[in-house]
């Protein structure tokens, strides 16, 4: 346990030193603040709008941005250290390989959690200082959005770690990371949409579609945030969808957690057998 923390804290320190943490936090805070101030512009006003509007716009943005940040941070984690020769030295120490991988992952997850909580939290503070009174249910939805965002980042971090253990070349790992992002964030939904249209509702019913959405962490995150809370789905225009949603919030969170655990487990299994 101690070894895990030693390695994780070194990753965090590296992140602090090379300004990753600062840059990510600033980016998240800037975007969140911008969205919370301008998010209500479509309704005709500029100023802090209802929290729900912010949640809708912020979670949509998170789906694009956070996976990218997580993958950029993690694709180099293993293959880069092997390349630089640091891994050989590290593994000559009394540490188990799963400890190395999990420790590094914990460090990266902590960086993402820190940036998200601080960045989005700043927007939350701005919202609370606005003129509109915010109900406790809205705050719950906002907190759930922050929490699930951290989970989404962790899931893509885990995928990045898997890419990083899978290959022997940094360039290839970077390529895989970009491909993962494109596939899950952009292409998957387009493909699904195309499939639905082509199929014309013959074989692809709502059930199958729901399961297909769970097969993508980004869509799971979207489902959780846009259909989990009634007020939010009203603003998101997904109230109709929410009525049909067959998954509870807990299930969706569990699926996201599985998207963290599964790639990590595979990465650990691969890394344990890897000949460095």
């Amino acid at each position: 346990m101690n070894t895990l923390l030693i390695i994780a804290s070194k990753e965090v320190r590296d992140g602090l030193r090379n300004r990753w943490v600062v840059a990510t936090t600033m980016l998240m805070a800037a975007l969140a603040l911008t969205l919370s101030f301008l998010g209500a512009a479509p309704t005709g006003t500029v100023g802090v709008g209802p929290v729900e509007v912010t949640i809708v716009s912020l979670s949509s943005l998170t789906i694009f941005l956070l996976p990218l940040i997580a993958l950029l941070l993690s694709f180099d984690a293993v293959v880069g250290d092997i390349d630089r020769g640091t891994m050989t030295l590290l593994l000559s120490y009394p540490v188990a390989r799963w400890q190395v991988l999990l420790g590094k992952f914990l460090g990266h997850a902590a960086i993402i959690a820190f940036a998200t909580v601080l960045g989005y939290g700043a927007a939350g503070v701005a919202l609370s200082m606005g003129e509109v009174a915010v109900g406790s249910e809205s705050w719950q939805a906002y907190a759930a959005m922050i929490g699930s965002s951290v989970l989404l980042g962790a899931a893509f971090s885990a995928l990045g770690f898997l890419a990083s253990t899978l290959v022997r070349d940094r360039g290839t790992a970077a390529g895989i990371a970009v491909a993962v992002w494109l596939a899950f964030v952009l292409l998957y939904d387009m493909g699904l949409l195309g499939l639905l249209v082509a199929d014309g509702g013959k074989t692809l019913n709502a059930d199958v579609l729901n399961w297909l959405l769970l097969a993508n962490p980004a869509d799971t995150y979207r489902l959780f945030n846009l259909t989990g809370f009634k007020n939010v789905s009203l603003f998101a225009g997904t109230a109709g969808l929410a009525a049909h949603a067959q998954f509870s919030a807990a299930t969706l969170l569990a699926v996201l957690a599985a998207w963290v655990a599964a790639p990590l487990a595979v990465a650990v299994a691969l890394f344990t057998r890897k000949q460095i």
């Binding site: 030693i6 390695i7 030193r17 020769g85 640091t86 050989t88 590290l90 000559s92 000949q275 460095i276």
Partner: protein
């Protein structure tokens, strides 16, 4: 295990990457307090053998035992606690200071970072340098830091992969002084190098590697006898009459004229004493005499030639 059991024991070990054998049927035994130098050019299998002994890779065939246990097993943590390793290309995080780097590795090894100051002093890193970022370090300072981390926790086995490449002669001397002190204290030291000449007087034994195979193993004098390389006697003589000189010192020596009025006589090691006696008995106007033993470079080349001929 008792104090006389070998700390390193490699038995018929091969390691294959694809079709290529990086290490091929190597046997090696190293006792406590022994300093063994592994020589061979790039790709000879030195680093691959060290990786096997560190448990970073598993052998395709054969058995590796370090301090009595399998270094690649799940229970190797207690072995690794007693092993120090200086990799060929050390890369520390450039944004961390020397102290932070050593603290990190000390904690990983379960050693109190309080002893780090003494270690820094031992390897000769100044307190001012310790506070600086590793990114600003010179090659020599990085190598000192690398040695410091290898010495953490007073290891029983020390693997040094090309420890002196790129170091200036003064630094190399202090490096070997530290290694000699460790060896005298009972540490097993296995070091790789291709700077062969600097190993003379440092290593108890030399292992010559070529294309993954061990081609020779023994002390320097054993290897000299095995190689049967000629000893060269250099005479500074103010004469151009090589034939006359040959008549006077007799047979059994090949003569060559070198620059600066020096004549070189090459003879077998066993004839050396006789030849010197004949030279001193002759009336030659010799102003200087020098006996040149075959150095490690020449012996290494000899073993490689023999290997190629087989």
């Amino acid at each position: 295990m008792t104090s006389n059991d070998p700390t390193l024991h490699v038995e018929g070990v091969s390691k294959r990457y694809g079709e290529q054998f990086a290490v091929c049927e190597v046997d090696l035994t190293v006792a406590p307090g022994e300093c063994v130098a592994m020589v061979g050019h790039n790709g000879a299998g030195k680093s691959s053998l060290i990786k096997l002994m560190l448990g970073l890779t598993t052998p395709t065939a054969g058995r590796v035992r370090v301090l009595g246990g399998d270094p690649a097993s799940a229970a190797a943590s207690h072995i690794r606690r007693q092993v120090g390793f200086l990799p060929e290309n050390v890369a520390f995080h450039p944004n961390m200071s020397g102290r932070e780097t050593l603290d990190f590795y000390a904690r990983l090894k379960g050693v109190s970072p309080r002893g780090n100051d003494a270690l820094f002093e031992r390897v000769g890193l100044e307190p001012a340098a310790v506070k600086r970022r590793v990114g600003t370090y010179s090659k020599g300072m990085r190598q000192r830091l690398a040695l410091a981390q290898a010495l953490l926790g007073g290891p029983k086995v020390l693997f040094l992969d090309e420890p002196t490449t790129g170091l200036d002669p003064a630094l190399r001397q202090s490096f070997y002084a530290i290694i000699a002190a460790l060896r005298d204290a009972g540490t097993t030291v296995l070091l790789c190098s291709h700077a062969l000449t600097e190993l003379e007087g440092q290593a108890d034994r030399v292992v010559v590697m070529n294309r993954g195979r061990k081609v020779a193993d023994g002390s320097l004098s054993t290897l000299r006898t095995l190689a049967q390389l000629p000893v060269r006697i250099r005479l500074t003589v103010p004469t151009d009459d090589l034939d006359g000189l040959a008549r006077q010192v007799g047979s059994g020596a090949a003569l060559t004229r070198l620059a600066g009025g020096v004549v070189e006589l090459a003879c077998a090691n066993d004839d050396k004493v006789d030849l010197v006696r004949r030279i001193s008995g002759s009336a030659l106007p010799i102003t200087d005499i020098e006996i040149v033993q075959p150095n490690l470079d020449e012996m290494y080349a000899h073993f490689l030639r023999r290997e190629a001929a087989e």
